[in-house]
Amino acid sequence: MRTLSVLALLAAGLVVSAAAGILIGAVAIGPGDVLAALFGSNDVNGTIIRELRLPRVLGAALVGGSLATAGALLQGLLRNPLADPFVTGTSAGATLAAVAAIVLGLAAPLVPLAAFAGAMVTVTLVWRLARLGGGTTVLTVLLAGVVLTSFAGAVVTFLLVSSDRLALQLRAVLGWLQGGVSVISWPELGVAAIVVALGLGFALVLAHRVDAYAFGEETAATLGVDPDRTTTAVLGATALLSGAAVALAGLVGFVGLVIPHALRFVIGATHRRLVPASFLAGAAALVLADLGSRTLIAPAELPVGAITGLIGAPFFLALLVRSRRIVV
């Protein structure tokens, strides 16, 4: 019962955030005009609402929801509250693959798929590395994330500098890399939505098996979970979600870390509840962060990654200090 009320509350929060995201912007448009624009008036307002604000709000919701859900899954699988797509380097791997796809001139709808492949390779690598560490994986995962992120970053820089194709749109690509939801088009959004729906579906089906990892992979096996298949499936869901998020908005940090962690205080650690709650809360949080990014210093825009970093990084440090007794 309590879970249902929390989920209902989070859904309501998402609707309110989305409404705020559509109503508020650099150009003042009254609520009546916004409604008219949503239902097809053909003036400038219609264009702003339907082609700019609405896809952007939906994009931000997809990105935030995906990252938070992926974070919840990773934290459960690695038994590590300090894991998310960003700090494990999964997002960086997805970025590298997406940039490579753009450099190679692949069609735009293929970019999310490339990002998914990059995320899958990286997150599998992180999992393997974490497993080498035996019982305690917190530090190994963080170090693996640092290494993978700098490696991917180096290759991305190399690609950007050496590619003629990207030189023309360097500014846009840099903005995307820092985490920005600004260049979202409807077709792009459609492909990403399908990938996210797949990832979220898998996450919901697998959630109760992720619980069994609470005391490690071997105990999950003795509780009846096929560890190889389940681990691959969970990593796959994580990669679908992170890949879609990166394809839409580049490197947005810490949403996946903060949201599931904060939610555990409210609804507990059980993933059957945590996964849907994380999606809703992550979506609402990023819609608000994106709203902040385009209104705080309007008419200029901050990358949304700057906002999530500002809030998330201190939170991450606090967590690190609190869990230091088990980190080593």
Binding site: G76, H208, D211, A214, A221, L223, D226, A269
Partner: protein, 259 residues
């Protein structure tokens, strides 16, 4: 009546062979304590019995069925393992941890049936965890957390219970949990196999003692038959002596008296 039997099992971690044509069998109602020096292969035997490590030769059979042909979820319904690691950074409640024991039986999306609810409540009750049921498991003492994972294993309603060094995290005063466990196992007619370091604990806990050395079972029988001076000296060296107390053998360190 359940039986779990390893026959001429050889098991290795990469090149390092740990079990050498080791045979061992147990059935319902038996409480077996496995003892032996470090590196004798005790934990490896337990992992092989649990199906966590595939032997390179020999077979493990659960009620006559080859363990290798059963899925993890089929094994989990019949064999429960008490984990050695039970620290977690995630704030699961005690009740949620106990419910993990039902993982293999849950419906799609993890839905719990009436049987699942009853089994969890019963395990919580049997290990006196009711007052702690809503507490976060990461905030409990080592002994309380141990009871929570024992309840998790009992909630599996398996016929076989395997424990690897269940006492490492316990204060001497908390060993009563083992006595409680032994009574529960007897009542439920479980086949229990526990790897124990402490010979005295083994002879108090087990109805049967299995001594391992160099990857093989070298002695198998009732505590008084097995734990005697010759064997203890042969397996553990001459730093120990054996005395009898209330029908149980007691092993004490042989300390030279001060002059």
């Amino acid at each position: 009546m359940t039986t779990l039997a390893a026959t001429a099992v050889t098991a290795a971690y990469r090149e390092r062979v740990v079990l050498r044509e080791c045979s061992f069998a147990m059935g319902s109602g038996e409480i077996v304590a496995v003892v032996g020096p470090n590196g004798a292969g005790k934990s490896t035997l337990l992992r092989v019995l649990a199906g966590l490590l595939r032997p390179t030769a020999g077979t493990v059979a659960l009620d006559g069925q080859d363990l290798a042909t059963l899925s993890r979820s089929q094994v989990a319904r019949r064999v429960a393992v008490v984990p050695q690691i039970f620290d977690t950074l995630l704030p699961f409640t005690v009740r949620e941890v106990v419910a993990l024991g039902r993982t293999a039986r849950l419906g799609s999306f993890g839905r719990a049936s009436a049987d699942d609810v009853v089994a969890v409540a019963r395990a919580i009750d049997e290990l006196d965890l009711a007052p702690l049921a809503s507490r976060r498991v990461d905030r409990l003492s080592g002994g309380e957390r141990q009871r929570a994972v024992l309840a998790m294993a009992l909630a599996q309603e398996a016929n076989v219970l395997l424990l690897d060094e269940p006492t490492v995290h316990l204060d001497p005063g908390q060993l009563a949990t083992l006595v409680l466990l032994r009574d529960l196992a007897t009542r439920r007619q479980l086949a229990v196999c526990a790897v124990l370091h402490d010979l005295n604990l083994a002879s108090a806990f087990g109805s049967r003692i299995v001594v391992m050395a160099e990857g093989q079972v070298i002695r198998d029988g009732a505590p008084l038959e097995v734990i005697h001076a010759d064997l203890v000296t042969a397996v553990f060296g001459d730093g120990l002596e054996v005395v009898e107390r209330d029908g149980h053998p007691a092993v004490l360190p042989r300390i030279a008296s001060p002059r």
